[in-house]
């Protein structure tokens, strides 16, 4: 409503300022400075109000992002600093290393093993919490507790549980008569163990986000569905899920970003923090860390960072397109 009104005086002011052409007969009333100032205020101050975030982002987010790209195209030592410009050489070197591809595989595998079950479990938990429980707040806060525990503590506890020889999980498996699993030697077992840690920490957090969204679903939709004879399951699928779509998109995108950057849990998974003797669970961020801090080659480390960034953008876009397509097709019906 205010947009066209605000637009008009400014154009007058501009034309009045640059070329005072005499209009036929009636002169427009002169726009006072006060009036102009208040127009500017209305037009531009919102941008000023939100600018601190973007300024801060430009300093601590955008600059490092671009600077990483700069470092990636140079020969760069951690201690000796910038060397000469070498173009794509760092990228070629990284892409030519077996360890890079292993770390890419591990990152994607751990990401899928953690994100997919996590979102499903979070929605189900949220659905249960949405019921009229006794001591509601207790249960709702309870699911957040794992999130409050620091990742390092979680990793320490879980890496003990998943000890190859004397770990609790293997002891239990052995009493049931199943062979002990090499949680630290096998590739898939190590990914499962790490995904378990991630899920332990993040499922409750996501469940609370879903719960908040669920509570915004109008209750009369459920009443109407019930009158139509829909059971609980049917209500969940046809009422709850469609109404959660924007939230699901949000959670999937944030967990994509977090999942692909995973570092703490795999690093704490054994005593050395390098991702196993054969890189069984070395993720891309761990590989980046090794290049930068152990081998002191910031150029290659930055190249990995840039590649990781591109991967996240790519997977984020794919996620976005898929989820949008699903939700728009739903709206059409």
């Amino acid at each position: 409503m205010s947009a066209p009104a605000a637009h008009a005086p400014v154009t007058t002011a501009r034309s009045g300022g640059s070329a005072p052409e005499p209009r036929t007969g009636r002169r427009k009333p002169k726009v006072s400075f006060r009036h102009r100032a208040s127009t500017w205020d209305r037009r531009y101050s919102p941008y000023l109000y939100i600018s601190p975030f973007f300024l801060l982002f430009a300093v601590v987010g955008l600059f490092p992002l671009i600077y990483t790209g700069w470092v990636a195209t140079h020969d760069w030592d951690l201690i000796m600093g910038q060397g000469e410009f070498i173009g794509a050489e760092n990228f070629m070197a990284v892409l030519g290393e077996r360890a890079f591809w292993i770390s890419l595989r591990n990152t994607l595998s751990i990401f899928i093993l953690s994100s997919a079950p996590q979102v499903v479990a979070a929605i189900l938990i949220a659905y249960l919490l949405d019921y009229n429980l006794r001591a509601k707040t207790f249960w709702r806060m309870g699911v957040l507790v794992p999130y409050v525990v620091t990742p390092v503590a979680v990793a320490l506890i879980f890496s003990n549980l998943f000890g190859d020889r004397f770990g609790l999980v293997n002891s239990i498996l052995e009493t049931v008569g199943i062979d002990a699993i090499g949680w630290h030697s096998g590739t898939l077992p190590s990914h499962l163990a790490i995904a378990t840690m991630v899920n332990f920490r993040w499922t409750g957090y996501n469940a609370l986000i879903f719960l908040a969204a669920m509570q915004a679903v109008p209750r009369d939709l459920y009443e109407a569905a019930e009158i139509d004879g829909a059971g609980k399951v049917r209500q969940f699928i046809s009422v709850t899920i469609p109404n959660l779509r924007p939230t699901i998109i949000f959670v999937i995108i944030t967990s994509t970003i977090g999942g692909l950057q995973i570092f703490d849990e795999p690093r704490m998974f054994d005593q050395y923090g390098r991702g196993g003797t054969d890189g069984q669970w070395q993720t891309m961020t761990m590989y980046l860390y090794e290049l930068g801090w152990t081998r002191s080659d910031f150029g290659q480390a930055s190249a990995v960072a840039v590649l990781l960034f591109l991967l996240i953008v790519a997977i984020g876009l794919v996620n976005f397109i898929i989820t949008r397509r699903i939700s728009s097709s739903e709206v059409k019906r």
């Binding site: 951690l78 004397f166 770990g167 054994d270 003797t277 054969d278």
Partner: protein, 415 residues
């Protein structure tokens, strides 16, 4: 960016040295240590001796983290403590940046340390980069109770004879042991590897700094010998050093009977095996003497109180103070005077069946003839070969040859 930060550090240094030079000015010195240096009481003592000095202790959990943090400080040009520790395995790596550290040469201190200890910290141009702290002469620790069950000698002198002084003897003794026992001979191949590789004069990089680890037949022979003993002869318990399973195993029945034991390891065994009775220490080491670990105190040039820091570093590494640290955490001295002192030679260790640990380790230190030439990439290469060994012995995912191939690839990537 880095340049700007360096410039900041530089100007701050300039400002303070003009004020800090005055006598009696209050000075705060920061000292970084990792693991257990046993310096807490010494800091207090030094503060009492010097009214104007306050010491801030920055304690880092592991050597690797201490190394990473020092690298970061050097890279940023600020943030390093006034005194920073460097472990022998990554000494050469930091010698690549001699202008980032103060020259600690002091004619008065020339003969303070064992030759091999001091020589490693001397740069090509004769400058001294660090003062030696502890050292790691190795003996063999063993479980007398398990030896007895297997019908073997238990007395530490007889055991020393039984273990022999070559790696063949040691492995042969192991085969004899495992034939009579349910336990393994040692915890894992990586522990033994440290003993073996620390006796190779030029293991991973030659004098020119070229990586020769994968072409060095001496290294390959040791690798084959070790894995044959570990896997085919089943001498290894297959536990990766420092892992949770490894620490747990000390408390379990029937796990392993011997261990390579530099002085600092005694405290670790005691900590892990608190309830276990029977640990003892034999005055021998396969393949002659060997040193595993030990550190140096350096004074980074970016610090603000360089003179005071040098004095403190010299004081901390003096024989008297080394003996005190040995008393507290078992950090074995590296100064000749401390090694000859009665205090050290009469030291015994209750946990190790009252063994005369001071005397034994002093003898083991004398048996150390040389330190290997540890190049700039020593740590990275040693980690890679330990991974290769553990792929076979601990994880069981590769045979020795396949695992060696991967190690060769790792070396190619490093070159």
């Amino acid at each position: 960016m880095t340049l700007a930060l360096t410039a900041c550090g530089g100007s701050a240094e300039g400002d303070d040295s003009s004020g800090g030079g005055a006598e009696g000015e209050d000075v705060t010195l920061s000292v970084t240590t990792f693991n257990e240096f046993g310096y807490e009481d010494l800091f207090e003592e030094y503060e009492e001796l010097n009214d104007n000095i306050t010491i801030e202790h920055n304690k880092i959990d592991t050597a690797e983290n201490a190394r990473d943090s020092l690298r970061n400080s050097l890279g940023a040009g600020q943030g390093a403590s006034d005194i920073e520790p460097i472990e022998v395995d990554w000494l050469a790596e930091f010698q690549q940046y001699p202008d980032r550290f103060e020259d600690l040469t002091d004619p008065e201190l020339e003969d303070r340390w064992l030759d091999w200890k001091n020589e490693d910290a001397v740069l090509e141009d004769g400058r001294l980069i660090g003062y030696g702290t502890d050292s790691g002469p190795q003996a063999v620790c063993y479980r007398a109770d398990l030896f007895e069950e297997a019908g073997l000698p238990t007395d530490r002198e007889e055991v020393a004879e039984f273990l022999g002084d070559s790696w063949e003897d040691y492995f042969a003794a192991g085969r004899e042991f495992v034939a009579e026992s349910d336990s393994a001979w040692y915890s894992g191949s990586d522990n033994i590897w440290q003993g073996m590789i620390n006796q190779v004069e030029v293991p991973y990089q030659n004098e020119e700094g070229e990586i020769i680890a994968d072409t060095n037949t001496e290294v390959k022979d040791l690798y084959d010998q070790l894995l044959e003993a570990s896997v085919e002869d089943e001498l290894s318990a297959g536990l990766a050093q420092w892992s949770g399973d490894w620490s747990d195993a000390f408390q379990r029945e029937e796990t392993f009977a011997t261990m390579m034991c530099p002085g600092w390891m005694l405290g670790i065994i005691e900590g892990n095996a608190a309830e276990v009775e029977g640990w003892d220490i034999a005055n021998t080491f396969p393949g002659g003497g060997g040193n595993w670990g030990g550190s140096y105190l350096t004074v980074p040039s970016q610090g603000e109180n360089i003179e005071e820091a040098k004095e403190l570093a010299a004081w901390l590494t003096a024989p008297e103070q080394q003996l005190k640290a040995f008393d507290v955490v078992g950090a074995f001295p590296s100064t000749t005077e401390a090694l000859e002192s009665d205090e050290l030679l009469s030291a015994t260790n209750e946990f190790f069946n009252d063994a005369p640990t001071g005397e034994i380790l002093a003898e083991r230190a004398e048996a150390v003839e040389t330190q290997p030439l540890k190049g700039t990439e020593y740590l990275t290469i040693n980690v890679a070969i330990q991974d290769a060994i553990n792929r076979v012995d601990v994880d069981g995912i590769d045979d020795p040859d396949a695992s060696w191939e991967k190690f060769v690839n790792d070396m190619e990537a490093l070159r």
